[in-house]
């Protein structure tokens, strides 16, 4: 699993995804809807961390 934390001032949203492609899409859904902005693909990948999956 990939985990990415939004660092916009006052935001503590966390986005998780199964792979890079899904993460990029979900991060930009969040950044667009909540902050009227976008995040660059390379920046998302550089800020993402690998975490254990939760099959739950």
């Amino acid at each position: 699993m990939k985990r990415w934390e939004c660092l916009e001032a006052g935001c503590d949203a966390v986005v998780t995804a199964a792979d890079d492609e899904e993460l990029i899409a979900k991060v930009n859904e969040h950044v667009g809807a909540e902050h009227g902005s976008y995040e660059l693909e390379e920046v998302i990948l550089a800020g993402a961390e690998e975490v254990d999956g939760d099959d739950g």
Partner: protein, 320 residues
């Protein structure tokens, strides 16, 4: 007379399997897959749009684009010290990536030159300079911060220092010079100060329904810049992980030009109808992203200054 010792054969192969499995080589691969050509964009719609835009809209956009064109040309022209340093440090994967980096900055230079000529009828330096508001016209009325010219003063100065370090062949001096240069160029100028500019152009041309070629060009430039920014921060992270004391160098460089971040600069404020506070607030995200990528702690005092509503610049004169 000095002689250069010829390398043994096994030392002439520079691209190792470890490099080819690494993050910098991955950026190189991506860059070679993402080539675009400014001459393939259709500027006809932009030309028609530009003529029907109001004078205020035209001036607002061109105030930004002339600044970006010159900035792209400046960074193309000032990148060589990074290549020399990567060579001297034996980081051939960094040299490979930088070969794409310089080509891409040259392509951005070409794109803005073509757009100005084809859409605005601006071809000469004199014609473009007429739209350039001078940095000294941006003033912090509280007197706490001053704005500098990191692209035209800082990058050449840090580049000269890095070249001096390369000539000294002192590995520590080269690493430290590389971190200073990458921090100013990739992390601070490209990665924080310029980011609102891209958003302003994309947001406003989208809202006005104009200039699709400019917007597409900006998107292409941004895609390239994402690799450049994260190359700079990744190389800093690598060097800082080996020498944690290098983190202080990053903060010193940012502090030197922190005044440029505490308000929106003259060329960013000229587009009509902007919510400037939105772009100002987003600088915090960009700065914190850069610190996360470098594996260092963000300076909370700087963040507080960027977000302080009592701090904002005033601009005395709109164009130079």
């Amino acid at each position: 007379m000095a002689t250069t010792e010829i390398k043994p054969v096994q030392e002439r192969f520079l691209l190792t399997p470890e490099m080819m499995a690494g993050s910098i080589y991955r950026k190189y691969e991506k860059a070679t897959r993402k080539i675009w050509d400014p001459k393939q964009l259709d500027y006809g719609t932009d030309r028609v749009d530009f003529e029907r835009m109001t004078e205020e809209q035209r001036n607002g956009v061109v105030t930004i684009t002339v600044r970006i064109e010159a900035g792209e040309q400046a960074v193309t022209d000032e990148l060589l010290p990074m290549v020399a340093a990567a060579h001297e440090l034996g980081r051939f994967d960094w040299v490979m990536f930088l070969s794409t980096f310089m080509l891409e900055e040259a392509r951005h230079s070409e794109f803005f030159a073509i757009w100005h000529r084809e859409v605005c009828g601006l071809a000469t330096a004199v014609e473009k300079a007429a739209f350039w508001p001078l940095r000294e016209h941006t003033v912090d009325p509280t007197g706490r911060f001053s704005t500098g010219e990191p692209v035209y003063e800082g990058i050449p100065r840090y580049g000269d220092a890095l070249m001096d370090a390369v000539r000294s062949r002192d590995k520590r001096a080269i690493e430290q010079g590389f971190i200073r240069f990458a921090t100013l160029y990739n992390a601070w100028v490209e990665g924080v100060l310029t980011m609102p500019t891209y958003e302003i152009v994309i947001d406003t041309t989208t809202a006005w329904g104009v200039l699709p070629a400019l917007r597409q060009g900006f998107r292409n430039v941004l895609s390239d810049e994402g690799r450049h920014i994260t190359f700079g921060t990744e190389t800093c992270r690598i060097l800082i992980s080996e020498h944690p004391e290098y983190e202080a160098l990053v903060h010193d460089v940012v502090n030197e030009y922190c005044g440029n971040a505490v308000g929106m600069l003259e060329y960013q404020r000229n587009v009509p109808g902007l919510d400037l506070q939105k772009y100002q607030t987003q600088k915090v995200r960009h700065y914190r992203n850069r610190c996360r990528e470098m594996g260092i702690t963000a300076d909370q005092r700087l963040i507080d200054a960027v977000l302080d509503p009592s701090l904002d610049f005033v601009v005395g004169v709109q164009a130079g």
